[in-house]
Assembly symmetry: D4
Homo-oligomer: 211 residues x 8
Amino acid sequence: LRTGFPEVIWGPGKTPEQIAQIMEVMRQRNEVVMATRITPDVYSALQSKVRDVRYFGSAQICAIAPLELKPQYSGVIGILSAGTADLPVAEEAAVTAELSGFNVQRLWDVGVSGIHRLLNNRHVIEDASVLIVVAGMEGALPSVVAGLADCPVIAVPTSIGYGASFGGLAPLLTMLNSCAAGVGVVNIDNGFGAAVLAGQILRTAGKLQQR
Amino acid sequence: LRTGFPEVIWGPGKTPEQIAQIMEVMRQRNEVVMATRITPDVYSALQSKVRDVRYFGSAQICAIAPLELKPQYSGVIGILSAGTADLPVAEEAAVTAELSGFNVQRLWDVGVSGIHRLLNNRHVIEDASVLIVVAGMEGALPSVVAGLADCPVIAVPTSIGYGASFGGLAPLLTMLNSCAAGVGVVNIDNGFGAAVLAGQILRTAGKLQQR
Amino acid sequence: LRTGFPEVIWGPGKTPEQIAQIMEVMRQRNEVVMATRITPDVYSALQSKVRDVRYFGSAQICAIAPLELKPQYSGVIGILSAGTADLPVAEEAAVTAELSGFNVQRLWDVGVSGIHRLLNNRHVIEDASVLIVVAGMEGALPSVVAGLADCPVIAVPTSIGYGASFGGLAPLLTMLNSCAAGVGVVNIDNGFGAAVLAGQILRTAGKLQQR
Amino acid sequence: LRTGFPEVIWGPGKTPEQIAQIMEVMRQRNEVVMATRITPDVYSALQSKVRDVRYFGSAQICAIAPLELKPQYSGVIGILSAGTADLPVAEEAAVTAELSGFNVQRLWDVGVSGIHRLLNNRHVIEDASVLIVVAGMEGALPSVVAGLADCPVIAVPTSIGYGASFGGLAPLLTMLNSCAAGVGVVNIDNGFGAAVLAGQILRTAGKLQQR
Amino acid sequence: LRTGFPEVIWGPGKTPEQIAQIMEVMRQRNEVVMATRITPDVYSALQSKVRDVRYFGSAQICAIAPLELKPQYSGVIGILSAGTADLPVAEEAAVTAELSGFNVQRLWDVGVSGIHRLLNNRHVIEDASVLIVVAGMEGALPSVVAGLADCPVIAVPTSIGYGASFGGLAPLLTMLNSCAAGVGVVNIDNGFGAAVLAGQILRTAGKLQQR
Amino acid sequence: LRTGFPEVIWGPGKTPEQIAQIMEVMRQRNEVVMATRITPDVYSALQSKVRDVRYFGSAQICAIAPLELKPQYSGVIGILSAGTADLPVAEEAAVTAELSGFNVQRLWDVGVSGIHRLLNNRHVIEDASVLIVVAGMEGALPSVVAGLADCPVIAVPTSIGYGASFGGLAPLLTMLNSCAAGVGVVNIDNGFGAAVLAGQILRTAGKLQQR
Amino acid sequence: LRTGFPEVIWGPGKTPEQIAQIMEVMRQRNEVVMATRITPDVYSALQSKVRDVRYFGSAQICAIAPLELKPQYSGVIGILSAGTADLPVAEEAAVTAELSGFNVQRLWDVGVSGIHRLLNNRHVIEDASVLIVVAGMEGALPSVVAGLADCPVIAVPTSIGYGASFGGLAPLLTMLNSCAAGVGVVNIDNGFGAAVLAGQILRTAGKLQQR
Amino acid sequence: LRTGFPEVIWGPGKTPEQIAQIMEVMRQRNEVVMATRITPDVYSALQSKVRDVRYFGSAQICAIAPLELKPQYSGVIGILSAGTADLPVAEEAAVTAELSGFNVQRLWDVGVSGIHRLLNNRHVIEDASVLIVVAGMEGALPSVVAGLADCPVIAVPTSIGYGASFGGLAPLLTMLNSCAAGVGVVNIDNGFGAAVLAGQILRTAGKLQQR
Ligand SMILES: Nc1ncnc2c1ncn2[C@@H]1O[C@H](COP(=O)(O)O)[C@@H](O)[C@H]1O
Ligand SMILES: Nc1ncnc2c1ncn2[C@@H]1O[C@H](COP(=O)(O)O)[C@@H](O)[C@H]1O
Ligand SMILES: Nc1ncnc2c1ncn2[C@@H]1O[C@H](COP(=O)(O)O)[C@@H](O)[C@H]1O
Ligand SMILES: Nc1ncnc2c1ncn2[C@@H]1O[C@H](COP(=O)(O)O)[C@@H](O)[C@H]1O
Ligand SMILES: [Mg+2]
Ligand SMILES: [Mg+2]
Ligand SMILES: [Mg+2]
Ligand SMILES: [Mg+2]
Ligand SMILES: [Mg+2]
Ligand SMILES: [Mg+2]
Ligand SMILES: [Mg+2]
Ligand SMILES: [Mg+2]
C-alpha cells in the first residue's frame, strides 16, 4: 500500500551517477521515488542506470513509479498557471501531486490580462478542494483567484520575467501582499513545495473524516 | 482663456505662510493655482491668508480656482482605485485633472479580489480615453484593467499596505512587470503626476485634431 | 446559523467614528463583525458608539460577537509562537480563528533556542489539524515545527527584532526558504490572514466529508 | 485592412521550431506577426522555416509584414536614446511602432552629458505627438526631455551600465523620481511595451477625432 | 592666521549643553568652530551658553567665527542646487566652505526639467574652479553639469523626494552611474563633506603653486 | 615546530601557474601552505608543478602539508552542517582547521527539519570547545545549536538555496538575528574564515592556560 | 557562588511595571538580573518598584547586582569603539560583560580616520584575550584591529550614521567582508550579544584549563 | 601639442572590428586614443587592424599613443590599492592617468588588515597632490588614507569579493559612509572615472596658477 509522500531527490548539483545511486537505495523502501529539476540530458544518462525510470519532460521530473497512478486521497488539487513560460513550475507541482497520490486538474494560460479566459473556466476553481496558482512577471493571478475561490489557495511565484522582476522578487512580493485573505505563499519556482502543502491539506481532510 | 496646467505647489515642508505667499504670487499670472498634500490643519491656517481658497479634503488639495470647473478638453479620464485606503491618491489625481480642465469619471473600490464589481462597471473602462489605475498592497489592478481596456493605462502604486509592501515597493514592481503591454507607471502615491500625464495625452489628441 | 468568515475591518488609518459606522452597517447582515489593529484608546472611544462591542486586548481586536463562541467546524488549529513579543500577532490569529468558528490550541514561547520546551509540548503539534507558527527575529520555528508535524503549516513572520531584521524581512526570507516542504507563508505580522487560510483548510476538510 | 497591434511572440526560452510554429498559426489571422529578442542565430534557423520572414537586426525583431509599412495613424512617435549601447532597446521600440502602423522619428545618442546635441535637435521633440526616451546608466534623459516637451513622455530604463547600475535599477529609479511631471515609466529594456503605450496614445487621439 | 578647516561638531543626538561645552573647549585652539544640523530650537538654547555664537539658519549651522569671512584661498567653489527643497544641503555646503576660507558662488533652483535656466547661468559653471552639485528626487543635475564644465564636479544626493526615492537612494545611484566622467559622489545630504572635498581641491592647487 | 595558521592562497581568478608559483615561494618559510576554492581541473594542473601537493576534494583545498596532521592545540572544534549541499563549505572549515593544527569533530546532515537526528548526536555539541555551524536555505541550525551548546558558536551561511535565498542573503540574515545570544557570523560560504576564528578561540584558551 | 550569565530582560516594548515584575521574579534565582535598552525615564519609574536597582546610564542598562563586581573568570575582554556616538552600544557590551563576571578594558574613540590614536593604544589590543570592536558609519575599525590582534575579534556594527548607512547595513556589510580572517559579526547595535559571545570564549578557555 | 583627455572607447559589447574602426576615426583628431576593458583576445585581433596599437595588459587598456608619455601637468596622482585582485581596476586608473598626461605614483597591496605596510609607505600619501584609493571586499582603505592625507581622496570600490559583498555594494557603501571628510566616490570598478576626476583636479590647479 502506498501512503505518504514519495522520496524526493533535488537534482541540481548532482551527477547522473549520484542520482542513480540514491534512487536505487530509495526504491528499496518506497513505491515511488522521484527527482526534480532533471534536464533531458540527465534523463538520457539515467535511462541506462535506473531500471524503469520514467521522465515527465515538461515537469523536469524523473521517477520510479507505477504506470497507473491511482489517486489515494479524495478531493482535487486545481492547478492554474498564468503564462506559457510558467508551465515547468506548474507541471512540477502537478506531477509531484500525482506521484503523491492526488487528483489534479490543470488550467494553463489564464493570466490576468485576459480575465475572461479565467472566468470562462471558473468550474476548475469551483471544483477544487485546494488551489495552486502559479505566476511570474507581476504575479497577480493568485489575488484574483482567491477572490473567486472558496478554498485554500497556494501561490507560487516564478522567476519568469525580466528587468524589475528581479528574479521573481516582484511576483513574490505581490503574492505576499495579496488583498485577498487565505493565500499561502511558497518560494520562487517551488512547484514541488506547493504540491506537498496542497497534499498535506487533503490528507488533513482525510484524517478528520476518519475520526 | 484657461490653457495648460495650473501652477502647483508641493505642500510638505512648507509653512502655511510660505504656501500663502507663493499662492498670492502665482495667482497674478494663473487662473488656477493649487497646492498638494495639504492637511486640514494647514488649510485652516490658509483660509485667513488666501482669499477664496478652496479645499478638496479627500484629495488633500487646496486651490484658487473658478467655482465652476468647465472641462476645456474633449475626452474622459477614467480613474479607478482598488481599496478605500487608496482614495487620497486617487482623489489627488481626480482633482488635479479637474482643476486642469479635464473630464473625470471615478470608479472606487474595484480591487481584484472582487473581480465582479470591476466587471459590472466595465462601462467606465470602455468610455474612457485614458485610464488612471490606483492600487496599493499587491497592485494587481492595472494589469487586469489593461487587459480589458483599449486605451492608454497609467498605473499609480500607493504606499498603502504593511510588511512586505515595503512602503509601496511591492505594487510598484507589480505594475512595472505587468504582463499587459501599454501600461505606464508613475512614482508611489503620485496621483498628481498621473493626472498630468493623462492630461498630456488628451491635449495631444486635441492638437492632432487641429491639424 | 453562523457560517463563513466574519466581516473584518482593517483599523489603521480609520477614526473611531468611521469604524463605529462601518460596524453598525455590517452588523445588519453578520452575526460576527470584527476590527483588527485596534489600540486601547480607539477601543475606549468605540465603547460608547457601538453597543456590546468587545475587546480582545492582547490581539488588538474589537468585535461584535456572541459571548459564547462555539466552534462550528471540526478539527483544531494549533497556534505556536516563538517569543513573548510575537504574542500580539499570534493572538490576532487565535482570536480571528475563534471568532470565525474554529477550535484553537495555543502554545506560546517555544522559540528554537530552547528546543526542549517545544519538544515537551509536542502534543500540541500532534493534535492539530493545521498549524500556525508565528516568529520574529530569525524566524526559524516553522522549519523545526514542519519537520515534527504531519499537517499543513502556515508560517507568519513578525516585525519583532531590530537591526538586520529589517522590519521582518529576515524571518520572512527564512520561512520562504524553509528546508521542510509543506509550509505556506503569509505577510509580515499577518496573523489575521493566517487564521483565514487555516480556517479555509478546515472548511475544505468539512466539505470533503459531506460529499 | 490592418488595424490594432500585431501579434507578438516573446522570443527568449523558445526554440526556433516553436517560434516558427506559432508564427505560422498567427499569420492565418494577422497581417503582421512579430517576435522580439531574436538573435541572428535564431533568425538563421527561422529563415528556412517561415516563408517571407524578415529580420530587423538592430532591434532583434523578426516579423512577417508587408514590405511597405504605411503608417495607419496620424501623429509621430519621437524616439530618443542616450547612448550607443541603448540602441537595441530604442530600435525595439521603433520597429514595434512601425510594424504597428505608426510614424516614427528617431534621434540617437543625445545623452545628457552632451546637452547641446539634444538642444540642437529640439525639432524632434517639438514635432512629436508622443515621445519615447530610452536611457541606461544614470537614466537622466527623460527628465530633461520632459522639461522641453509639451507632449506625453514614456521613459524606458535600460540594463546598460555596470556596478551601481544594478541591472537597470539605477535608471529605473531615476525615471520614477523625475522632477518633471508627465512621465510614464515601463520595465527595464521594455522597448516593446513603450511602443504599445505610445501607440495607444495616438490611437486614442484618432478615436477622439472620429467622435 | 587661520589655516586648514574649522573644527566641526555633528549636532544630532547631542544636547545644547554638550554642544556648548565642546564649542568652548574647541575655541581655545581654533579661530572657527562650527556645528551642523542645528535646529532653531537648539540655537536658541545655545545663545545664552556660547558667547558670540552665530546662526546660519538656512544651512542649519551654528558657528563661532570672525564677522568678516575673508577668503584665504584663490579659486571659486560654484555650488548649484536643483530644487528649492535641496537648499538646506546646498547651504550646508556653502556655509561650510565660507567658514573654511573659500570663495563661494551660489546658483539655486536649476533643476534639469527647466534646462534653460541652467544654460542661462552657465557663467557660474565656467567661472568655478570646482563645482558642488546638489540634487534630490532623480538627481540628474550633476551629469548635465559635468558635461558643461571643465573642472572637477562633486555630486551630493539629497533625501528630498518620496516613494521610489527610498530616502535618497535614487539620486545616489543616479550620480554614481553618471555617464559624464569626472564626478565624485559623497553621502546622501552630506553638504559638509562636499565642501571639505572641494576645499581640499583648492588647497591642493594652492600648494602646487607654492612649489 | 609548526605554530600559527598556514599561509593561504585564495584560488579564484588565479591560473594554476600563478598558484604554483606562490606555493613554491611560501613553502620556503612555512610548513603548511594551502589554497582554497581549487577545482579538480586546477588540481590536475598543479600536480605536475608543485611537488607533494595534496588535494582535499570535498573541501576544494590543495595543500603542502605533513602527511600526519597532529593537533597542536587542546580542545575540539565541532563542525555541524545542515544539508548535503552545504558540505563543501563545511569541509573547507574542517580541513582548514586540521591543517592549522586543531582537532575537528564532524557532524553532517543535521538540518532543523529533522531535529531528532541533531538531538541524537548531542554529544558532538557537548564535547566541543567551540562550534562551527554551516547552513544554507533558511539557515536556522545555528540558533537551535546555540540553545543546546555552552560554548561559542560560529555561524556560516551558505549560498545553497534558490529563489528567495538571494545567494545566501536569507541564511545570513537568519543567523545575524539569532534569538540565541553568543553567535558570531562570518561571510556567506566562508568556511575558511570560520575555521580561523575557531582556531583563534582555542589558541586564546591555550595562552590563558600558560599564564 | 555566581556562575554563568545573568538573566536578561529586553526592555523595549515593556512597561516599567512589567520590567519590575520580571526582575522581582528573576532575583529569586539569580544573583545578577539585568535589563537592557532602559531610558532614564524608565529607570526613574523602576527605582520605586525594584529595591536596590542600579542604573548604568551610558549603557542604558538597569541591574540588580552586587556593588562590587569581582571578575569570576581569567582573561580580559578588550572593547574598542570608533566614534563617540557608538558609545551606548560599546557600553552595553562593557557593562554586560562586567555584570557577567569578566574583566573589561575600554578604549573609546579610536576610529580609523585617526589611525595613530589606535596605534598609540596598541597595548589594549595586545593585552586582550578577546576583542569586541564597535563601529558605525563605514565600520572599518574591526578589519584594522583584526590585522593587529592575535586573538578572536567580535565586530559590532551600529546604526550610527545617515544616508547610505541605511540603518547600519553599511557597517554590517563592511564587517562581514573583512579581509582579515578571524572576525565574527553580531547584529547591528547588539552590544549585549557581543559580550555574551566574548564571555563564552573566556569560559571555554577556563573549561579547557580545568581538564 | 597634447591637451585635455584622450578619446576613450568603452570596450565591452563591441567587436574588434568596431573598436578598430572607431580608433581609426578618432586618431585623425587625437594624439592619444584608448579603449578600456580589452581582453588579451580582443587585443590580438586588434593588432592586425590598428597600426601601432599598444596593450597595457594589467590595465586591460589598448591605446594609440606616443611611446614616451611625458607628463603635461604638474603634481602627482598617488594610486593605492588594497588587494592583489584589485589590481586591474587600479591599473585602469593608473594607465588612464598616464595616457592623459599626468604623473602617477603606484602603491599596491596596502590593505588595512596589514596597516604597517601602509604606514611604512606614507611618503606616497604625503607626496601626492591627489590620491586614488582602490579597494574591494570591505573597502576600508580610503577612510584610513583620508585620515593620513592632506589632499583630495578619490575612492574606487571594486567588485572583488564574494557573498555579502553583493558585487561591490559593500565597499561602495563603506566609502560613501567614510568618517573621514574629503572623500569622493566613483562607481564600482570605475578606475577610468577616478583618473579623469583626479586629472581634472590637477588641471584645475594648473589653471589657477596661470591666473
Ligand atoms: N523541486 C524542489 N523544490 C524544492 N525542494 C525540493 C525539490 N525537489 C526536492 N526538494 C527537497 O529536497 C530534499 C532532497 O534534497 P537532497 O537530499 O539534496 O536530494 C527533498 O526532501 C525535498 O524536500
Ligand atoms: N502631489 C504631488 N506629487 C508629485 N509632484 C507634485 C505634487 N504636487 C506638486 N508637485 C510638483 O512639485 C512642483 C512644485 O514643487 P515646489 O516648487 O517645491 O512647490 C510642481 O511643479 C509639481 O511638478
Ligand atoms: N540588548 C540586547 N540585545 C540583544 N538581545 C538582548 C538584549 N537584551 C536582552 N536580549 C535577549 O532578550 C532575551 C530576553 O527577551 P525578553 O524575554 O523579551 O525580555 C534575553 O534572554 C536575551 O537573550
Ligand atoms: N573603463 C571605463 N569606465 C567607465 N567609463 C568608461 C570607461 N571606458 C570608457 N568610458 C566612457 O565611455 C565613453 C565611450 O563609450 P562608447 O561610446 O560606448 O565607447 C567614454 O567617453 C567614457 O566616458
Ligand atoms: Mg476566497
Ligand atoms: Mg489593453
Ligand atoms: Mg512535516
Ligand atoms: Mg513637459
Ligand atoms: Mg566636464
Ligand atoms: Mg548556548
Ligand atoms: Mg589577527
Ligand atoms: Mg585628510
